[in-house]
Symmetry: C2
Subunit: 143 residues, 2 copies
DNA sequence: GTTTATGCAAACCTTTTGCAAATTT
DNA sequence: AAATTTGCAAAAGGTTTGCATAAAC
């Protein structure tokens, strides 16, 4: 369920962009913000259909682009050919550890690494705009 | 130009896999090891054709799979929809900083970050198999 | 001579796009 | 009523695949 504030903010953002507040867009936003997993577009589509929300994949793709642009959603690409999306609004920054045995995606955050990254970029004359940090792991117990 | 040692090692590896040492495979390996850039399959294809090596894209894809599996080549995916390949044999481990203004790819390495990564994984009961660390940056001078 | 590799074109699969119909303002 | 959005199905774009032919062993 979207709060009034979220709905208002979203509405204003759309107006600012010359876009309209449609029920499809609200349903997609609601679905994303109510879910903590890392889903492919098709999974989101299935979930919406199961909730009796009638939308097309095309609309989901088009809406995800807007949501990513405005930081409601983060696009996650772990290089397995499947692009995933996760809620970003109201969450803290984190990176991902992916278990290569189970496919589990675990979130992590480390300030020291963040600082070191910044220094490396600065040393080369750059400033970081965003970063991707993914650890592909297996259980210590695994051979 | 491939050294005898590299050629022998490659030959042995193929034999072990029940595969044959073909001129296509040697040409592709040679091309990769002679190049320090980060190229898409299609760029590699063009470069080979320009060198009068007659191969198909299919063969390049199939050969790259083997080369990646045996650490001759690293597959690089910076999430822009273009998968790139870079020489790995004889190079030191590094990660990538990508300039979002010029598309330049700069290599970097930092032991402290590597150690911190290991600790994070361990703390969660995992061991790192590989990782992806990419900094998307812009010049400090840029607004 | 047997087996694996190659090239070609078709198939794949996810994402994007053009357009007419539907929805929003 | 004017403008944007939607769904559909087609297009796109990179990668994979099946199969007949070629090359390696």
């Amino acid at each position: 369920m979207l709060t009034e504030k979220i709905k208002d903010d979203f509405s204003n953002l759309l107006i600012k962009e010359g876009m309209k507040l449609t029920s499809s867009r609200l349903s997609i936003l609601d679905n994303i913000l109510s879910n903590d997993s890392h889903r492919e577009c098709d999974q989101i589509y299935e979930d919406l259909i199961n909730d009796d929300v009638k939308v097309s994949r095309a609309t989901i793709y088009r809406t995800l682009d807007v949501l990513v642009k405005y930081d409601y959603v983060r696009k996650l690409d772990i290089g397995d050919g499947k692009v995933r999306y996760e809620k970003k609004l109201g969450t803290k920054h984190h990176d991902h550890m992916i278990c290569i045995e189970t496919g589990d995606i675990i979130e992590f955050h480390n300030n020291e690494i963040e600082d070191l990254q910044d220094k490396i970029a600065e040393r080369h004359g750059y400033k970081i705009v965003r970063h991707v940090h993914q650890l592909f792991v297996k259980p210590l117990s695994s051979k």
